[in-house]
C-alpha cells in the first residue's frame, strides 16, 4: 500500500516495502539525488536530511517511520535562489569533491535554526557526525560562522 510522504512541500505516494530507508526512497524512487549514500550505518552523515526541522540520518529512518515533513538539500535552496547557508558555503569555497556537503549543510542548517550564533564547541557537537574525507573542516567552520552572521544581520 502506498505511503504518503511530504518532501520539500510536495506530497508523494510511495509504494515500497515499509522498511526501505528514507535515503533510498528519496534517491531511487523520488529521484532526489542531492541526498547521498556514504555508509548506510549512520557513521558519515552524507545522507542527512531534516524531518520537521530536525537533522536526521535518512539511512536509518524506515519509510513507514517517517514522522513528519522531509526537507532535503534541494528543498533548502536552488542554484538560482540559494539559502543563506548555501551562499556562505560558496563564499568560503568549502566543497572539494562535494559528496558530503549536502549532509554537512543540512546538519549545519538545523544547528543554526536552533542556535543562530553557535560557539566553536557547539559547532563541534553538532557537526562531529558528518565525515568529510577531503578534510574541508576549516572552511565548513568558517562558513557556519559566516552564515550565522548573515542570519543575525537579516
Amino acid at each position: 500500500m502506498a505511503i504518503p510522504l511530504k518532501i520539500n512541500g510536495e506530497t508523494h505516494q510511495v509504494d515500497l516495502p515499509d522498511d526501505v530507508p528514507l535515503l533510498w526512497v528519496l534517491r531511487d524512487e523520488i529521484g532526489l539525488t542531492g541526498t547521498k549514500y556514504g555508509c548506510g550505518v549512520a557513521a558519515c552523515g552524507a545522507c542527512t536530511v531534516q524531518i520537521d526541522g530536525e537533522a536526521v540520518r535518512s539511512c536509518q529512518v524506515a519509510l513507514s517511520d517517517v514522522w513528519g515533513d522531509v526537507t532535503t538539500i534541494e528543498g533548502l535552496g536552488t542554484p538560482d535562489a540559494m539559502a543563506k547557508i548555501q551562499e556562505a558555503w560558496v563564499e568560503h569555497q568549502v566543497a572539494q569533491c562535494g559528496f558530503c556537503q549536502s549532509g554537512q549543510i543540512m546538519q549545519a542548517a538545523a544547528l543554526l535554526a536552533g542556535n543562530s550564533s553557535p560557539t566553536d564547541a557547539e559547532i563541534d557537537d553538532a557537526m562531529s557526525g558528518n565525515l568529510c574525507r577531503c578534510g574541508t573542516y576549516p572552511r565548513i567552520r568558517a562558513a557556519i560562522q559566516s552564515a550565522s552572521q548573515k542570519l543575525q544581520e537579516a
Binding site: L16, P17, V20, P21, L23, W24, R27, D28, E29, G31, L32, T33, G34, K36, Y37, G38, C39, G40, V41, A43, C44, A46, T72, I73, E74, L76, G77, T78, P79, M82, Q86, W89, V90, Q93, V94, A95, Q96, C97, G98, F99, C100, Q101, S102, I105, I123, D124, D125, M127, S128, N130, L131, C132, R133, C134, G135, T136, Y137, P138, R139, I140
Partner: protein, 746 residues
C-alpha cells in the same frame, strides 16, 4: 548542467575542426625547445580539442577530471585567460576518452631523478619522455600532474581559439585583425560594434588555426588569482551529478557481492533466497561473485546479502601475521632498487653515534565518500557508460573487452567524483557495471557498491616495513641507510592500466625516501619488493605516503640523537642542497613561531617531504587534555614554483594533510581468514570537525619549476604528528596508526 549535457550527448568528433553547430579549436603543434622524433608520426596533425563553441557559448573541455581537487576550475582559467572569456560565462565539461587528452606530465615524473636536483638537460629529457604519453594516449588524472601538463596546452588552446575568432571577424567585417580586440567573449571593432564568439563559431570552423604568442604573466587576470570554483554552486545545492546520481529512464538498481578473499572465485552459489525477496529481479553470476539487480539499491543490497555463496580461498597468506612475515622476508636477498647510493654507509665513522629503527605502516583503503559505482546501458552494438573515473581511455578499453565490443562502441561520460585519491584510477567497478548491463540488454543499470563492499574490495596502499640505520657526529647526520620492503604499487597498477609489465628499479616504491634534499655524505636507500598476490593501488601520494613517515620519523630520531633541534638539524642539511626546500622550513618556523621549546602539556613536531615536484614543511601541535591528546594546530609551508590558484592550493594542502592525519591516527586495513577485517567507517574512521586541527598555509613561489598540489601535503603529515607525540610524551611510535600507542581524541 543541462546545456552542457546536451553538448555531451551530441558526441562531438575528436580530431576534426568542424563540428555540426560548432567548432573545436586545438593546437597544431606543441612549442618544442628541442625537436622531438616521437611527435612526427601520422595523425599528429589532429587537433587537441579543448575549446568547444556553439550557438550557446563556449565550453572548455578539460583533459583531467574533477575529483575535488579543483582541476576543472584552474584548467578553465588557463584557457579563459587567453580567450578573454567573462568568468561567469565559463562552462566546463570532462573530455571524453580520447588520446588527444593524454597526460604529458605523467611519464616524465617516472624518471629516476631527484626532482629537486634536476638539471636543465634532465628537464628536457623529461619533456621528451612526456611526448610518449601522447602516443599511448595516457589520459590519466593522477600524480598531481594536471597543471604541469595543462599549463601551456590550455593557454595555447585559448590563444589559438581567440586568434581564429579574430580572423573570422576580420573576414566578416573587412577590417584588419590588428584593429580588432576581444573582451568578455566577443570580438570588438574600432567603432564598438561587437560579435559574440558564438556568432562567429561557424565561420571560425572554416578558418585556418594559427598559434599566436601567449600572454605575458604581467597581464594575467585569472591565472594566479583565487577564482570562484565552477563546481561550488552545484555542490551546495545537491545538483552536481556524481556517478551515483546518474538517472536514466527505466533504470534498474544493482549491486555486487564479490569474494572477500580477494581475487579468488566462487565454488557454488544459490540465488534462490535473494530471488524470493521484494524488489529483486535477477542474480547474475560474475565469476568471482554475484550481482543482484533490483528496483531499488537498498533492496539490491539486501538481496546480495541473502545469496548463499561458497567462496574459494585467498591466493595470499590469509592472516595479517603471514603477510607481515612475507614483507619481512623480502629484506633478504638483492634489493629491487638502490636509487640513492652516496658515499659509504658500511664503514663506521669514528666518533659517531649510530642508531637504528624499524617502522611499520599498514595497508590502507581509500574510503572515498562516494562508494564505487558505475551506470551502463548495453544495446548489443553499443555500450553507454557513466561513472567518475581517473582514466577514461582505460575504462573504455576494459569495458569494451569485457562485453566483446570495440572501444569505439563504448561511449563513456565522466561524472564528478565523490573523492578518488587514486581509487578511481582503477576500472573494476566500471567493468562490473558493463557486465551487468550486458545481461540486461536494453535496460540501463546502476551498480552501486555497499560501503562494506567498497572497503573490503579496494586496491590498497601497501603495508610496508622500513629499516633505517644512521649515524650522527658533531650535530650532523653523517650516514643514513634506509631499506623499504613491501608489495609494489607500480607492478600491478602498470599492468592493469597500460598492459605493460614493468621491470627494473621500482621508483614509486622508494619515492619520498631516495629523493629528499638532504646533504648527508653517506646515504643509501634500497627498495625490496614483496611478492604477494594482493590488490595494491595508488593511494594519495603513493610511495611517499609510506616513505614520508619512515624517512622523516628517522630524521627526527637522528636529530634527537645528535642533540639538535629537529628544525635546525634539517635546515643545516638542506640549505646547501636545495634553497626552495630550506625556504619552506624557514617559512614554517616563522609561521609557527618555532622555538624548539613547548610548555608542559603541549608537543610540537616537524616534518618535511619533497614529492610531486613540491617541497612541503609542516609543523603539528598536539595538546594533552586530561590524558586525551588533541591535534590542535597545523602549519604548512609549500613551494609550488608558480601558484595558479591560491585558494585551491590552500584547500589541497590542508586537505592532503587531513587525509594523511586521518590515516596516521586511526586507519589500518588488516586481513583475517583471507578477508579484510574493516567493513565501514566505525572500523576505519577519519578526522572529524572536532578532531581536525586548525590550519595555516603559506604558498611560496621560489622553486624553479611548477610542482603538483594534490598530493604533496600528505607525506609530511604523518611523521609530523608522530614527532609531535614524541615531543609531548617521550614515546617514539614507529608503527601506524598512532591510536594504538596513544589515547587520541576521538
Amino acid at each position: 548542467m543541462s546545456r552542457i549535457g546536451k553538448i555531451a550527448r551530441r558526441s562531438f568528433l575528436i580530431g576534426s575542426a568542424a563540428i555540426v553547430g560548432g567548432v573545436a579549436f586545438g593546437i597544431y603543434k606543441i612549442n618544442q625547445p628541442v625537436k622531438n622524433p616521437l611527435t612526427t608520426g601520422p595523425g599528429e596533425a589532429a587537433l587537441n580539442p579543448f575549446i568547444f563553441i556553439d550557438q550557446n557559448g563556449v565550453t572548455i573541455i578539460t583533459p583531467r577530471a574533477e575529483m575535488g581537487q579543483g582541476t576543472q576550475t584552474t584548467l578553465a582559467a588557463l584557457a579563459a585567460e587567453e580567450l578573454d572569456l567573462d568568468w561567469k560565462d565559463v562552462r566546463v565539461l570532462h573530455g571524453p576518452p580520447a588520446a588527444a587528452y593524454y597526460n604529458s606530465a605523467m611519464l616524465s615524473s617516472s624518471l629516476p631523478f631527484k626532482e629537486y636536483a634536476m638539471s636543465e638537460f634532465q628537464h628536457t629529457l623529461a619533456d621528451q619522455l612526456s611526448k610518449a604519453g601522447k602516443l599511448i594516449g595516457l589520459q590519466i588524472t593522477g600524480g598531481s600532474t594536471a597543471m604541469q601538463d595543462g599549463f601551456d596546452r590550455l593557454r595555447m588552446a585559448g590563444a589559438s581559439a581567440r586568434e581564429t575568432l579574430i580572423l573570422a571577424a576580420s573576414d566578416r567585417w573587412g577590417i584588419a585583425t590588428r584593429k580588432l580586440r576581444t573582451e568578455n567573449g566577443a570580438v570588438i571593432a574600432p567603432d564598438g560594434t561587437s560579435l559574440r564568439y558564438e556568432e562567429l563559431a561557424e565561420q571560425a570552423a572554416k578558418t585556418e588555426v594559427r598559434q599566436p604568442e601567449l600572454r605575458d604573466r604581467s597581464t594575467w587576470r585569472y591565472i594566479g588569482k583565487s577564482m570562484p570554483r565552477l563546481d561550488q554552486v552545484a555542490k551546495v545545492t545537491g545538483t552536481a551529478e556524481f556517478g551515483l546520481d546518474v538517472r536514466r529512464e527505466g533504470m534498474k538498481f544493482a549491486t555486487v557481492r564479490m569474494n572477500p578473499n580477494l581475487g579468488a572465485g566462487m565454488i557454488r552459489f544459490d540465488p534462490a533466497p535473494a530471488l524470493d525477496m521484494p524488489g529483486v529481479e535477477k542474480v547474475i553470476d560474475m565469476g568471482r561473485g554475484v550481482a543482484v539487480v533490483a528496483t531499488n539499491t537498498w533492496l539490491a543490497f539486501r538481496g546480495a546479502e541473502a545469496v548463499e555463496i561458497e567462496w574459494e580461498a585467498a591466493p595470499y597468506p590469509p592472516e595479517q601475521d603471514g603477510i607481515w612475515s612475507a614483507i619481512d622476508a623480502s629484506f633478504e636477498g638483492k634489493p629491487n632498487s638502490t636509487l640513492r647510493d652516496d658515499g659509504d654507509i658500511e664503514t663506521p665513522i669514528e666518533g659517531s653515534t649510530t642508531i637504528t629503527a624499524e617502522y611499520r605502516v599498514p595497508f590502507l583503503a581509500h574510503a572515498t565518500m562516494e562508494p564505487q559505482n558505475a551506470t551502463a546501458l548495453y544495446t548489443g552494438d553499443e555500450l553507454e557508460m557513466w561513472c567518475g573515473n581517473q582514466a577514461p581511455t582505460v575504462v573504455q578499453a576494459r569495458c569494451a573487452e569485457a562485453v566483446g565490443l570495440e572501444k569505439e562502441q563504448v561511449n563513456l561520460t565522466t561524472t564528478f567524483m565523490g573523492g578518488a585519491f587514486g581509487r578511481r584510477g582503477e576500472y573494476d567497478y566500471a567493468v562490473y557495471a558493463a557486465l551487468v548491463a550486458k545481461e540486461m540488454q536494453g535496460t540501463p543499470v546502476q551498480v552501486t557498491w555497499s560501503r562494506e563492499e567498497d572497503m573490503t574490495h579496494d586496491f590498497y596502499r601497501p603495508a610496508c616495513i622500513g629499516r633505517f640505520t644512521g649515524a650522527v657526529k658533531d650535530g650532523r647526520a653523517v650516514q643514513l641507510a634506509g631499506a623499504v620492503a613491501g608489495p609494489s604499487v607500480a607492478l600491478g597498477a602498470t599492468q592493469r592500466l597500460i598492459g605493460i609489465k614493468p621491470s627494473g628499479p621500482d621508483l614509486v616504491h622508494v619515492e619520498g625516501a631516495y629523493d629528499q634534499p638532504y646533504d648527508i655524505p653517506n646515504y643509501r636507500i634500497t627498495g625490496h619488493l614483496t611478492d604477494v598476490d594482493l590488490p595494491i593501488g595508488f593511494w594519495r601520494s603513493v610511495g611517499a605516503s609510506v616513505n614520508g613517515f619512515l624517512h622523516e620519523s628517522f630524521m627526527d630520531e637522528l636529530a634527537h640523537a645528535a642533540g639538535q633541534d629537529p628544525l635546525q638539524f634539517r635546515l643545516k642539511l638542506m640549505r646547501p642542497v636545495h634553497a626552495a626546500s630550506a625556504g619552506c622550513l624557514d617559512k614554517v618556523r616563522e609561521m609557527s613561531d618555532w622555538t624548539g621549546q613547548t610548555p608542559d602539556g603541549v608537543g610540537r613536531g616537524l616534518a618535511f617531504s619533497y614529492s610531486f615536484g613540491t617541497p612541503v614543511a609542516q609543523v603539528i601541535e598536539v595538546v594533552d587534555e586530561d590524558g586525551s591528546i588533541r591535534i590542535n594546530k597545523a602549519w604548512i609551508a609549500c613551494d609550488v614554483g608558480l601558484a595558479l590558484d591560491p585558494s585551491i592550493i590552500e584547500a589541497q594542502m590542508f586537505g592532503a594533510l587531513m587525509y594523511g592525519l586521518s590515516a596516521a591516527c586511526f586507519e589500518e586495513i588488516t586481513f583475517a581468514g583471507g578477508a579484510v577485517e574493516q567493513q565501514n567507517f566505525p572500523d576505519f574512521d577519519a578526522l572529524r570537525i572536532h578532531t581536525a586541527p586548525q590550519v595555516e598555509v603559506a604558498i611560496l613561489e621560489n622553486n624553479a619549476h611548477m610542482g603538483g598540489v594534490g598530493e604533496p601535503g600528505t607525506p609530511p603529515s604523518m611523521p609530523a604528528l608522530a614527532n609531535a607525540l614524541f615531543d609531548l610524551t617521550g614515546i617514539r611510535a614507529r608503527e601506524l596508526p598512532l591510536s594504538k600507542a596513544f589515547d587520541l581524541l576521538i
